[in-house]
Amino acid sequence: MMSKNDGEIRFGNPAELHGTKVQIPYLTTEKNSFKRMDDEDKQQETQSPTMSPLASPPSSPPHYQRVPLSHGYSKLRSSAEQMHPAPYEARQPLVQPEGSSSGGPGTKPLRHQASLIRSFSVERELQDNSSYPDEPWRITEEQREYYVNQFRSLQPDPSSFISGSVAKNFFTKSKLSIPELSYIWELSDADCDGALTLPEFCAAFHLIVARKNGYPLPEGLPPTLQPEYLQAAFPKPKWDCQLFDSYSESLPANQQPRDLNRMEKTSVKDMADLPVPTQDVTSDDKQALKSTINEALSKDVSEDPATKSGLLPPPPALPPRPCPSQSEQVSEAELLPQLSRAPSQAVESSPAKKDVPYSQPPSKPIRRKFRPENQATENQEPSTAASGPASAATMKPHPTVQKQSSKQKKAIQTAIRKNKEANAVLARLNSELQQQLKEVHQERIALENQLEQLRPVTVL
């Protein structure tokens, strides 16, 4: 039972967060406090059985072969497979209708966490056991969440649109060929204005993910990807209340600051150490990737947009749940250095960029600090068994200073524990990322050689 719950939570939550590894320990200890969005949790739970995730994702080597791009990460995948239940997997039922593929999720072990390049976590295996012929082009709720989050990371205002150059840099990270990307753009940009609104972006993203999984591109935009259909099927207001919009007074938003406040209380020093090393790695990775991509494509796109795109929230390996990745909340509190709780995975997920939109919210959570404290400690109580009667005493919402301090202490202790776990996970992730960095460097060198060979022919 417990394992199933864990599995479910792992399924849901890590997917939400960038750093899946980080999330796992958090989830087990803070299940109850982590109630970000009740509806999302429910959603996850309802979907998890069908996804049949991650409890024990069996590896399926044959599936890897289908996705040639994953060669660089196959090692990581196999090693990480058992460690990190593919919460990621849940994320990518791309073409999965909810009911299908009972065996599917199991076959898609998500190893992708450390995918430097892709938020698309393309290594997902396509499930061709879709029961509906047009199912590949139907966006599931999970995918929708992910796409919307990515959109928000590029453009905070969901009703606005992403400019062509920004979208181009983002989609270029998917490592599809330029003709394919231009064709996808042609399909998805229905009004041909050179910018992508949210439905258009979701359609484009979905097409890219489908293409990465081996589906041929359609002749025309499928009806389920039409902007009108997408807007009707997935009403936006639901997402407006999501984490990212911390100005909202909705429940999730309240819970986020609560979590945030709790984290704020934790010793700042603990937090400060962790993210920095990984952050360095991430920025290096970003740069390496960017340069590799630029060279590979032989594009004369100026380096400026490329480097800027490196700041963009890059394809987190896992489609992050729009959840309050606690790390994100923390980052707000701790400001820039903290970011990388989340990005442990997605190296690129330019935490720096994420901080920018989140830099405003910190004032609110801080204001609410004292009020939700009680609630925060309440949330913590269930998770910390040791608190016992003491916690019961503190459960009463008296905003007295003494009670607050005891709650603070407990909060700090819990946070310290969590941080230590996170530290271990991050250190491991760091080593994996370093490995990937080396691989990418090698790729870059190979590409540079190729470029040199081609250069004489290109002299004009």
Binding site: G164, S165, K168, P179, C192, G194, L297, V457
Partner: protein
């Protein structure tokens, strides 16, 4: 209906050429190439003072015994050249104008695609390379700036543009 449609870049190299497959494509390439001189002449004839008022549609560039060649220039000096059959007398000037306008709209849609570099060839399903095996050493070897399009630029695939041109070759639109 058009027999051959060509999009020429500002530097007078072809971005897109497509002719009806049954014909001798080399001949059309040559016709389009020679028409570029006429286009330049018409542009310069307008005078510098009138450059703002210059109309985009240039009209009949020159007639041959079999074909008529029409021209159209955008404000960014991208030229559209259309070759129509002379025997098709039903074609009127307005229809040609509307065809050019549609072509211009399709071209702007191609430009809006961020993956398209201005100056790249526009990929067509039917005519992959203007100077491909079908017309070896086509007329564009005469063009001094022809090398740019020859090899390496990554052409984008624009099926919408292609479909528009296909429809123009089938019927008057």
């Amino acid at each position: 209906m058009a027999v051959c449609i060509a999009v020429i870049a500002k530097e007078n190299y072809p971005l897109y050429i497509r002719s009806t497959p049954t014909e001798n494509e080399l001949k059309f390439h040559y016709m389009v190439h020679t028409s570029l001189d006429v286009v330049d002449e018409k542009i310069s004839a307008m005078g510098k003072a009138l450059v703002d008022q210059r109309e985009l549609y240039l009209g009949l560039l020159y007639p041959t015994e079999d074909y008529k060649v029409y021209g159209y220039v955008t404000n960014s000096k991208v030229k559209f050249v259309m070759v129509v059959d002379s025997s098709n007398t039903a074609l009127r000037d307005n229809e040609i104008r509307s065809m050019f306008r549609k072509l211009h709209n399709s071209y702007t849609d191609v430009m809006c695609n961020p993956f398209y570099n201005p100056g790249d060839r526009i990929q067509s399903r039917w005519a992959l390379l203007p100077v491909s095996a079908s017309s070896p050493g086509g007329p564009y070897f005469l063009c001094p700036i022809q090398s740019r399009w020859a090899l390496l630029l990554c052409p984008i695939q624009s099926r919408a543009f292609d479909n528009m041109v296909t429809s123009m070759m089938i019927q008057v639109c």
